[in-house]
Amino acid sequence: MELNLNVLRLASGLAAHATARQTVISQNIANADTPGYHARDITDFASAVDGAGMAFSARVTRPGHIPFGPGATGHDIRETSALGTETPNGNTVALEDQVMRAAQVKQSHDMALGVYQKSMDILRMSLGRR
């Protein structure tokens, strides 16, 4: 019997992406008043899915090697600064913008966990359990 668990893999990938993005956003908010700090964000999940395997990644010859580079996690961090958000001290974090992004993160994380849970429910049901 072959299980097609792509849905589960996709859902856990989306959850991991949301978690990584949440970390970056919380760093931005912690540094909301740090002079010279530039707001950052990670590339969106769609490009991480499309670019999986295509992106640069270090060659691994042994299973113990630790992957690095943008391809290692499927997303990379880049600076995002909307026009006109820079304050006189060089900081480009707009709190409203960051809170908005955090709400998106929460939504996609909830969606990922919901899809995961439902898929598991379907698997369980097909096994005859409730």
Binding site: Q22, T23, S26, Q27, I29, A30, N31, A32, T34, V105
Partner: protein, 130 residues
């Protein structure tokens, strides 16, 4: 889960920094009528904790505002010199209150991030519960 802890660490460092800023602001406000008092300011710096791979914020050194102290004419004051003037404090209540308000706002944003990371972690753990 480690990513979630990093998120919470960043948010907690933000709260700590904003709390220190708020404390200095209240010290300044308390000393608004102290003769010869110079207002204290603190800088924010981005830090990188390499052992835990977490970016956070920390407060730098506390500096004194070296702008000129205002001369107050009050001959009956024990601090007054022969010409009847004494040096007041260079605290401006308007600036301090605006600063405290901004610190409050940033603190709340950090708290919201912390809470969101906590919710995401607990909903992730809920998946294990069935």
């Amino acid at each position: 889960m480690n990513e979630m802890m990093k998120t919470m660490e960043s948010a907690a460092s933000g709260m700590r920094a904003q709390g220190a800023r708020m404390r200095l602001s209240s010290e300044n406000i308390a000393n608004v009528d102290t003769p010869g008092y110079r207002r204290k300011t603190v800088t924010f710096e981005e830090t990188f904790n390499s052992t835990r791979d977490a970016r956070a914020v920390k407060t730098g050194s506390v500096n004194l505002d070296l702008s000129e102290l205002p001369r107050v004419y009050e001959p009956s004051n024990p601090m007054a010199g022969a010409d009847g003037y004494y040096l007041g404090s260079n605290v401006d209540l308007m600036i301090e209150i605006a600063d405290a308000r901004e610190a409050n706002r940033s603190y709340e944003a950090n708290l919201k991030m912390f809470d969101q990371a906590r919710q995401m972690a607990s909903s992730l753990l809920n998946l294990l519960r069935r």
